[in-house]
Amino acid sequence: MSAPRPYALLAELTYRCPLHCPYCSNPTSYPTRDDLVTAEWVRVLREAAALGIMHVGFSGGEPLLRRDLADLVAAARESGLYTNLITSGLGLEERRARELRGAGVDSAQVSFQADFAELADKIAGTKAHHRKLEAVRAIRDAGIALSLNVVLHRATIDRLPEIIEFAASRKAERLELANVQYYGWGFLNRTQLLPTREQIEVALRVATEAKKRYAGEMEIFYVLPDYYETYPKPCLGGWGQRYLTVNPAGDVLPCPTAGSIPGLQFENIRERPLAWIWHESSSFNCFRGNEWMKEPCRSCPRREIDFGGCRCQAALLTNDAARTDPVCTLSPDRELVDRVLEKINQASATEAWQMRQNPVPAH
């Protein structure tokens, strides 16, 4: 099967993070190999640009924990890549922001856990909110385009109006309001995080109204939690179609959470060129196109729209990555999703969150 060209690379520079958000989509068990060193990342960036990639998102974990971040940004810039820093903001003071801007960072996306410190710090599992406010100031002063990202879940979604106002007061050009996606740590905390149907309905109204009100000033993106949707979300434009992820240990993944799919073997940048992995590897080819599909997707007209949904979600919920995404109401497994929704819409679950842990250093 011939591969299209990829457009964007997600470079997960480290899984270490000063925050412990219970909704993190990082894997719950981390790779055991050492993190890539600077020269290896520089090679990844060059090979990515040569493959046709135009965007790189530096992410993690917390990318600022890499001391060589500015060097990597400069290398990306030199290869003509657009660079977006996806960060918690911790560690981004004035000097670092200027250094990164000088190296060529184009934009920064800062996550906030809530609109006020007490709740935000409880979710982050550490005192982070005030430091984020400083980071946002430093980013603006350095002339880096700013977008904010706030993850919505049962404990924050009712504060949507305040969250939107908060983002506007920070002069963000863009606000992403993404409901938790249930992978990694987020999956572990699924029943604690899923909002109720009522919460979702109110939030959708608030977001739609705010989009209009802030048009021209701040762009607002609101992503529904797919558990409440009729059809699944399209998997990043299709498996192995536009995106690739390189994790801290150099494994190359079709999507950031693909590591959770049992039985899938990933190639590593230390052993193979990126172009070979993109074109030839079985991890990229196994769900490319629609040959792999089973019914009901195989004969469904929507298969070109949503590509059968998310492979990671199918694997997480049914243990078979090749099944229809159970979020789809046409899926024979939809019951798996409905049972969870039923449970959380009855009782107000009050179980404690399981906070995200960091990788244990090998030496």
Partner: protein, 96 residues
Amino acid sequence: MPNTEINPQSRPALAPKVRLQTDQVTGKTVLLYPEGLLQLNSTAQAVVSRCDGKISVDDILCSLGEEYEVGVETLRSDVSEIFSELHQRRLLVFNL
């Protein structure tokens, strides 16, 4: 709502989040921004490459007219359409 009436005296520039880049695969010019990219056709490319924050909308029209040897009036509607689309998508900013 964003004001789509563009002042002919304003001087358009790329928004801070936007970068103009040549696509190494297709050779085409694209605008890159955090959420994605926009491929420019040749007219849009000619327009955007003049948006340096120093030249006004009117002067851009004149300069295009000279380059393509057509009257400004013939160009006006195409060019305004490009400007208002890029304005609406917040890829260009217009300073007075």
